[in-house]
Structures are given as C-alpha cells and as structure tokens.
C-alpha cells in the first residue's frame, strides 16, 4: 500500500489519489488530538494509540505500506504541526524494546514490511540551515522507523511537488 501524509488545505489532486486502489491519504480535518506521552500504544493497547480519533491506527497503516510519502510545510527544519502530530501518534509502529544500531540506542521493529520514505518539504522562505536540519531529520526518522530507503526534496510551492509526484 502507498500511504500519503500531507498538510495541504487544497488537496484536490491528493483526494483523487485516495480513490486509487492501494493508496491511503492521511490529511488534516481539524480533529486530530496530540500525543500525551502515555506510552499506552506500547503497554495498554499494544500496536494502537489509546486516543481513538481518526489517527489512532497509524501504526497499523504504516505496517501495511511499502511506500510512505510525506508532504509538509517546512517548519524550522522539521514538519508542520499536523504532520508531526501524525508521526508522534505513529510510534505504535515500533516496539518499546531497544536495539543498538551504529552504537546508538533505537527501538526494535514490530513489523517486517519494508518502507520507502519520500519526503517533500514546501515553503517560500526555507533557509539553507533549515534544509540541512530537515535532511538530518528525515535520515533519523528513516532510521528509527526502519525504512529501507529515503529521499528528501524541497519546493517553493505545491505545484512543484505535484510535478515531482506525478
């Protein structure tokens, strides 16, 4: 499955993608709750977030996808609050247990699927430093979510992303 997480308000071309077979689109309808740091998705309802809004099964969705596309406004070298919220609510995809990789502590994987992560950042005033931070962030996210491959690109506007996606 292809999973698309985005924060675009006018998402008509992505709405069409939602109709495609084997594609799921996660967008902002204003109803998302933020992660409360309870670890319930690890020790209360393992694999699912205890907050049962539309975004409570992100771990499961990630487990069924082989391509993850994130489209986000670049905020200080990171994701926008909505996209970050979705990712914060996705940690049930991994286990609470630890593994040492490259001499560092990381979480073990819960699922065996292989994800190709593609991130598209947009924004008019993204500084070079923010771009550097964003590249480091996606690399770290890819490592922590056990992705098989990742790529990062930047665009001034949505149309540029659309061209890259199609």
């Amino acid at each position: 499955m292809k999973l698309i997480i985005h924060d675009l308000e006018n998402d008509c071309f992505l709405s069409k993608a939602n109709l495609l077979e084997d594609t799921m689109v996660i967008s902002d309808d204003g109803s998302i709750h933020h992660c409360i740091g309870c670890f319930g998705c690890w020790v209360k309802t393992p694999g699912a977030c205890v907050i049962r809004d539309k975004y409570g099964d992100m771990g499961e969705y990630l487990s069924k996808c082989n391509e993850l596309i994130i489209i986000s406004k670049c905020c200080y070298g990171g994701f926008s609050p909505f996209v970050k919220n979705v990712l914060d609510r996705s940690i049930s995809y991994i286990l609470p247990y630890f593994v040492i990789k490259n001499g560092e502590m990381h979480h073990k994987r819960r699922y065996k699927n292989k994800i190709n992560l593609r991130v598209f950042f947009y924004g008019e005033n993204i500084t070079d430093r923010e771009k550097q931070t964003a590249e480091k962030l996606v690399k770290a996210n890819s490592f922590n979510f056990h992705c098989e491959a990742y790529s990062v690109s930047f665009a001034d506007n949505i149309m540029e992303i659309k061209e890259k996606l199609i």
Partner: protein, 212 residues
C-alpha cells in the same frame, strides 16, 4: 532579570522536563530574579502568556524528544510565538532549550535543538544554549539523589553550566550528555519497566509484540 521556564511536556505531572526545570530553578532563583513558570501541555498558548513572555530577558524551554523532533503541541505554540515575536521589534530575549530523550545518548536530541535554534532565528530572538539529556526516563527516579553525585553527576554539571549562562545572559556551545549510569543497565531497567506496566494493565508480557 525576568526568566520564563516553559515545560513543554504533554504530561501533566511526573514529567522528566518538570524535574529538570525544578533543579534549574533552584540554581537561578537567587531571590532577585523574577522567575515565571509555564506548562505548555496543549497546543493553545494564549495571548496573555505571549505578552508576559515578551517581557522576559530569558526563556528556557524543556521538553521531551518526540520522533527525533519537537512534540507537535509545542511546535504549534512555537509557531504562534514566532508570529507574535516577529511583530514586536523591541525585544532582547535569550533562548535556552533542554531536550530529554528516552534513548541513552543525549546527542540524539541534536536535531531538535537545531530546530529550536532555527525557531529562535525566525522569531528574532538570541540563541543561548541547548542541552540534550539522554535516558530521560530515569529523571523521576533520580529526584532524591543528592545534587552532583551518582548517576546525576553529568546532568547536574551540565544544568549548572546552563544556569551560569542564563544568569550571565550569555551564549555557549550546546551540550549533549548521558547520565553516569551504564547504557546496558538503562536498557534492561527501561525494558523491565515496560513489562511491569503491561502486566499492570492486565496483559501478558508477550502482548507487547502484538501485530495488528
């Protein structure tokens, strides 16, 4: 000197950020400084708080590392603060940030600290210093250990340095540390605590591995 301490943890109580800020407060509270404490546990920072924060000489953020970055609710507040601060040209505020992460290595908070520096620049504020602390889950268990000793030695030393910089309104290199406690023991202890928690919730230890 007016100093604001902002706890950016979504947890209402017992957060690692609250314990770190408590230690920091004891070091900067000399009776002359005016210290205000805030808890940004949700995404709705009000105008009243923003008006208070812009009067400060220093703002200290403390928050947990979430998916290699800033928790989304705090990010929401930072965006509101950036818009507010950008409109007010007359300000001279130093920003310090403490990020605690569940992983053992404090340097895994480097990207989040970088984002705070980027936020600072966009908001027209001055960057003071960042402190990345590893093994954040240990913080609540270290509260009764005397300052500067045992597993808290490194953390207290770093918090002391940060406090000195805040009091001098100076900038310094970011610091990334882990507690004086072996990494493998931290891992064993943390995993034991997850197993205990899952049993307390009426589940079996093997349920941790549930696939949906």
């Amino acid at each position: 000197m007016k100093i604001a301490l902002i706890n950016g943890s979504p947890r209402i109580k017992e957060s690692a950020s609250s314990y770190i800020l408590k230690d920091l407060k004891s070091l900067i509270d000399d009776g002359q400084n005016i210290i205000s404490e805030y808890h940004f546990s949700n995404p709705q920072v009000g105008e009243k708080y923003m008006n208070e924060l812009i009067q400060c000489d220093a703002i200290v953020f403390a928050f947990p590392l979430y998916v290699d970055g800033i928790p989304s609710h705090l990010l929401n507040n930072l965006i509101k603060l950036e818009m507010f601060f950008s409109l007010n040209k007359e300000k001279d505020i130093m920003v310090y940030s403490i990020v605690n992460c569940g992983f053992y290595e404090g340097h895994q908070a480097k990207i989040a600290i970088e984002m705070m520096e980027n936020w600072c620049k966009k908001s027209g504020l001055k960057w003071g210093q960042g402190l990345g602390i590893g093994a954040g889950a240990m913080m609540p268990f270290l509260r009764n250990i005397p300052a500067g000793s045992g597993p808290k030695k490194n953390i207290d030393y770093a918090v002391n340095q940060l406090a000195c910089n805040i009091l001098k309104s100076s900038s310094s290199e970011n610091i990334f540390i882990s507690p004086n406690f072996p990494g493998f023991l931290y891992r064993i202890t943390a995993e034991m605590s997850f197993r205990r928690n899952i049993k307390e919730n009426g589940l079996k230890v093997r349920d941790i591995y549930t696939r949906i």
